[in-house]
């Protein structure tokens, strides 16, 4: 579905992404992991069109989309979330969600001015869907809260919620879990699975919570220092020596302070 071909991105002297090639299969939930600064977010940004790669190509369903802008990719069914939440701070939670769907008649001034009935009818539909998403995220009490006033975790939820407002083909999730309560994260995982199974969404997600990855992802791609380290099933990756050394570590050795 997505094919990344030999992509490189340089910032000044830094090779944030360095010659990465990979493929994301239709219908899969692909995990992307790697140490901090491995270039995962940068790769996401390139795929989603936030900036062009220094070299290399991106294909979506066989079409070259390297040069496309984010909004064009959105209309091709490619959605993404941001690692650092990008809410519309002066809009309410409901409005944040209602803003998402493309092709709303009311976003065209001609309709906004002269075709109010159609606009209103469409608004009702969008509002309904937004309410469903809010329900799902367990934040109905925040419906009319300004997004700028949300807590850190709530903003991440909203970030996820926006991707549920349209029928996407492929969704890129950048650390949706960071800062989200683990119990809620379980629910999110379930729904990702459901969207994947029932609606056929393809997912690609960056996450540092290995339980989450283990539960959802196949395959898992590991990046380190801008390069592809390895790729495989969760088990293969988790037992890979290099991955353990660079990313996972050898286990927990914490003890309570007072016990020592």
């Amino acid at each position: 579905m997505i094919k990344v071909e030999n992509v490189t991105k340089r910032f000044g002297g830094i090779h944030a992404v360095n010659g990465v090639s990979l493929e994301i299969q239709q219908g899969s939930i692909t995990g992307l992991i790697g140490p901090n600064g491995a270039g995962k977010t940068t790769l996401f940004n390139i795929i989603a069109g936030a900036f062009p790669p220094t070299s290399g190509k991106i294909y979506l369903d066989g079409d070259d989309v390297t040069e496309l802008e984010p909004h064009q990719l959105f209309h091709k069914g490619l959605l993404r979330t941001f690692q650092i939440a990008h809410e519309f701070s002066s809009l309410t939670v409901l409005e944040n969600l209602m803003t998402v769907p493309g092709g709303q008649p009311g976003e065209d001034l001609r309709h906004a001015w002269f075709n109010f009935a159609a606009v209103r009818a469409h608004e009702e539909k969008v509002r309904e869907r937004a309410r469903d998403v809010i329900e799902f995220l367990e934040i109905p009490h925040l419906e009319n809260e300004l997004a700028g006033n949300l807590s850190g975790g709530q903003k991440k939820l909203l970030e996820l919620g926006r991707t549920m407002m349209v029928d996407a083909k492929i969704v890129f999730l950048d650390e949706v879990g960071a800062g989200v309560n683990r119990t809620l994260l379980q629910t999110i995982a379930t729904s990702i699975q459901r969207l994947n199974k029932e609606r056929g969404y393809t997912f690609c997600l960056i996450e540092h919570d290995m339980d989450f990855i283990a539960r959802l992802c196949d395959p898992v791609i590991v990046m380190a220092e801008g390069k592809l380290l390895t790729e495989g099933t969760v088990d293969e990756v988790m037992n890979n020596e290099e991955v353990i050394e660079a990313y996972l570590g050898t286990g927990r050795k914490h003890k309570r302070v007072s016990e020592q």
Binding site: A246, H254, R256, Q260
Partner: protein, 234 residues
């Protein structure tokens, strides 16, 4: 009286109260962890302890002094250090300058502390001359914690220090936190990686809708079925 004890904190951002009768406390050399669902008021409670929120009721006593009315920068001088959840590095300053700013109130030689931070987070030593705004999410988090450590605080408050940090760094961070605590510093932190956090915690507070739901030792909370199910993800 505990080293830090915040009692009966009630207040919010101007609208409805976010915190209602919230209590937090921690001793020297101990780690206390605050967990709870999103929007429970954990960050708000931290801000309240640090004086960034006007409390309607309640008091904060630190090291024997009532500091309820003290300005935040005064609290820093009194030995409190804080790493907020978001916007916790100076983006246009280099990594090294970020650390120096952490040590702003110190008048002694800071090279040693700096080296300690660099040895704890080797990646930062590599990027010491890069503006922190160009770092990856996880790297920034490391800078933020490093910056707070530079203060040499008596009480270190961390709001989700491990959010977005790779597992290996998270382990190291927790190790370091334990290490820091062992030097006699009190640590109060909010965590969503609650299980790992409670493992190293002496005390845990479960906050729900601005009030304490459970308060116990870390071990006991981990063992509590309801806590596990509702807040720790099973």
């Amino acid at each position: 009286m505990s080293f830090l004890s915040a009692t009966g904190m009630t207040g919010g951002y101007g609208g409805a109260d976010i915190l209602t009768d919230c209590n937090l406390s921690v001793e020297r050399g101990e780690v206390a962890v605050v967990v709870g669902p999103n929007g429970a008021g954990k960050s708000t409670a931290m801000k309240a302890v640090f004086g960034l929120l006007n409390l309607r009721e309640g008091s904060v006593v630190f090291d024997g002094d009532d500091i309820t009315r003290m300005a935040p920068q005064e609290r820093v001088r009194h030995g409190m250090g804080f790493v907020p959840q978001t916007r916790n590095v100076f983006v246009s300053l280099t990594v090294e300058e970020n650390l120096e700013m952490g040590a702003f109130i110190r008048d002694d030689d800071i090279t040693e502390s700096k080296e300690q931070v660099f040895s704890l987070f080797p990646i930062l030593a590599e990027k010491r001359n890069q503006p922190a705004g160009e770092l990856s999410g996880g790297q920034r988090q490391q800078v933020a914690v490093g910056r707070a450590l530079m203060t040499k605080p008596k009480l270190l408050m961390l709001d989700e220090p491990t959010a977005g940090v790779s597992p290996i760094v998270m382990d190291e961070l927790f190790d370091k936190i334990v290490e820091v605590a062992r030097t006699g510093i009190a640590i109060l932190m909010v965590e969503q990686n609650a299980r790992q956090a409670l493992e190293i915690a002496d005390h845990g507070f479960v906050l729900v809708q601005g009030s304490n739901r459970f308060t116990d030792t870390g071990e006991a909370l981990l063992a509590n079925e309801e806590v596990r199910r509702s807040f720790l993800g099973g």
